[in-house]
């Protein structure tokens, strides 16, 4: 099992979800986050006062999938979230040791 953690532009969320469902992804978790990367924020001006806003809003998607699905999931996210402009985000893949569905007590792959 692998955890795919993707940071994407907020307006790409629906497209990404639609791309993942046909692959057999059963569920995912979404969080509104802020951060910076190479884009290094933006400038806002209020009555002449300029502020560097160093943390920009992004969406974090967390989805745990069977190992054999990882490549397809990563590719699907990367393809749909890409605008080829700075600030498109990043994807990380981590190992997952165990999983458990609380309601039924099913474990690991059965719990996904």
């Amino acid at each position: 099992m692998k955890l795919v953690m993707a940071f994407i532009k907020p307006f790409k969320l629906d497209e990404v979800r639609e791309a993942l469902t046909p692959l057999g992804v059963q569920g995912l978790t979404v969080t509104e986050v802020k951060g910076f990367g190479r884009q290094k924020g933006q400038t806002e001006i209020y009555r002449g006062a300029e502020y560097q806003v160093s943390f920009l809003p992004k969406i974090k998607i967390e989805v745990v999938v069977p190992s054999e699905l990882v490549d397809a999931v990563v590719e699907a996210i990367a393809k749909t979230a890409r605008t080829e402009k700075i600030g498109d985000g990043k994807i990380f893949v981590l190992d997952v040791e165990r999983a458990l569905r609380i309601r039924t007590g099913e474990t690991d792959l059965a719990a996904l």
Binding site: E44, R47, G48, Y51
Partner: protein, 444 residues
């Protein structure tokens, strides 16, 4: 409200004195149409402070100070209502002399005897007789006395102690606002006698509040982190709603200052709308050209700048000059809130001086050039007061007088407040925010 009925009034007053028994049949009476408009105007002007100004200012501060900022406008509304009833009204509109009223209307004394008679302001040849009862006149004026100190709070937003606000507000209302209102709007007042024009409060309200704000910003000092930390507005949507309510309420402020539901009120309303719109566009385009984007905050600030500048001129000018006054105000406000503030280095947080002070001066001076006589004409003097170089100089004189008096008065009262309760919150309280430290509450 100022001057048109002067001669009529003198005649009426003489009649009243000579034949009291006949007065009720022959003297002026309360006009229900005028009174209806003034009741409406009074509600509109109150709407400018709560919730208009409260929202406008609250939308521009940081999240930790939103409630405290709204509370400043709300508390000023309540405080000035009581202060005005007790002594403020008497000091502003009591007979007195050229400098200040007196205590003859202390606790609104005398109101009960004449509660259903047309209100007469002043006495003798100079008296002005209205077609509305005194209760309406004094409540209308009360809403002006409320918004003026509420405007100042924009200058020291984010850092003044609430206790200091209360004390300063009471002192300032009685010792700075009331005398200036008397100078300009009471027939005995020296600026009134001079013939300087201020239809709805360019000097009394906007220059007064703007300059007081400038002094307060200097005396209190800059906010912690000013120039280094991000002080971006919490929620400009609130500010847009607030500015829009101010705009609508301003019809009561300016058209209501005609003291009746007549042609002059209509003209005041028209020029108010024009000046506000043009100034919003002027600020917006100036910002677009120089900073790259036409900001929402710029557009609404411009509208306020135009409303401020047309205030002394409404009731004296025609639509074309209103267009010019609005355009100049939009550019002047933009300059005041950006370049001037940066150049001088004070932290007038929400630009009480940059917008109200600067544009109040613009309007106060330009009315001296653009006044169209017939609007202020009376049956005995139909030519009214027209713009001229002499009138411009009079306007300049009145502007400087108010500027100087307010500066000195505000400075002294701030120092007195500082000695008694302390003006500014501690640095750690300022960092935590006024909502929690002053009021024990927090925005969700």
């Amino acid at each position: 409200m100022r001057m048109p009925a002067r001669v009529l009034a003198a005649t009426a007053a003489a009649l009243l004195a000579a034949a009291p028994a006949m007065a009720q049949d022959q003297g002026p009476s309360i006009d229900t149409g005028d009174t209806a408009w003034m009741l409406t105007s009074t509600a509109l002007v109150l709407l400018m402070t709560i919730p208009g100004l409260a929202l406008f200012y609250a939308g521009m501060v940081r999240k930790k100070n939103v409630l405290a900022t709204m509370m400043q406008s709300f508390a000023v509304c309540c405080l000035v209502t009581v202060v005005w009833m007790v002594a403020g009204y008497s000091l502003a509109f009591g007979e007195g002399g050229p400098w200040v009223g007196d205590l003859s209307k202390f606790f609104l004394s005398g109101l009960a005897e004449n509660w259903d008679k047309p209100f007469v302001l002043g006495s003798g040849d100079a008296a002005v007789t209205f077609t509305i009862p005194e209760s309406v006149f004094l409540t209308f004026q009360m809403t002006f006395a409320i918004i003026t100190p509420a405007l100042i709070t924009g200058a020291f937003a984010d850092r003044m102690k609430f206790s200091a606000l209360i004390l300063f507000n009471i002192l300032w209302s009685l010792l700075v606002y009331a005398p200036i209102a008397h100078w300009v709007w009471h027939p005995n007042g020296w600026i009134f006698g001079l013939g300087a024009l201020d239809f709805a409060g360019g000097t009394v309200v906007h220059i007064n509040a703007g300059v007081a704000g400038l002094i307060a910003a200097i005396v209190l000092g800059k906010r912690v982190g000013y120039g280094q930390e991000n002080m971006a507005p919490f929620n400009l949507a609130l500010a847009v709603i607030g500015a829009s309510l101010l705009w609508v309420g301003w019809f009561g402020f300016n058209a209501g200052s005609a003291a009746g539901a007549g042609a002059r009120a209509g003209m005041a309303m028209l020029v108010t709308q024009i000046a506000a719109a043009v100034a919003a566009l002027a600020w917006m385009f100036a910002e677009w050209a120089t900073k790259g984007k036409p900001s929402v905050l710029g557009a609404i600030s411009g509208a306020i700048a135009g409303l401020v500048a047309i205030t002394p001129a409404s009731g004296f000018v025609l639509p074309l000059p209103a267009l010019i006054i609005g355009a100049v105000a939009g550019l002047a406000g933009f300059w005041g809130a950006t370049a001037l503030k940066k150049m001088c280095g004070y932290d007038d947080s929400l630009d009480a001086f940059g917008v109200h002070g600067i544009c109040g001066i613009v309007g106060s001076l330009l009315v001296g050039i653009f006044a169209y006589g017939p609007l202020s004409g009376t049956p005995s003097a139909p030519e009214g007061i027209s713009g001229s170089f002499d009138q411009f100089l009079l306007q300049l004189y009145a502007t400087v007088a108010v500027f100087v008096f307010t500066s000195i008065g505000t400075f002294i009262l701030l120092k007195v407040t500082d000695v008694i309760v302390g003006l500014r919150v501690a640095e750690e309280e300022e960092r935590e925010g006024l909502d929690v430290t002053q009021h024990g509450e927090r925005l969700a």
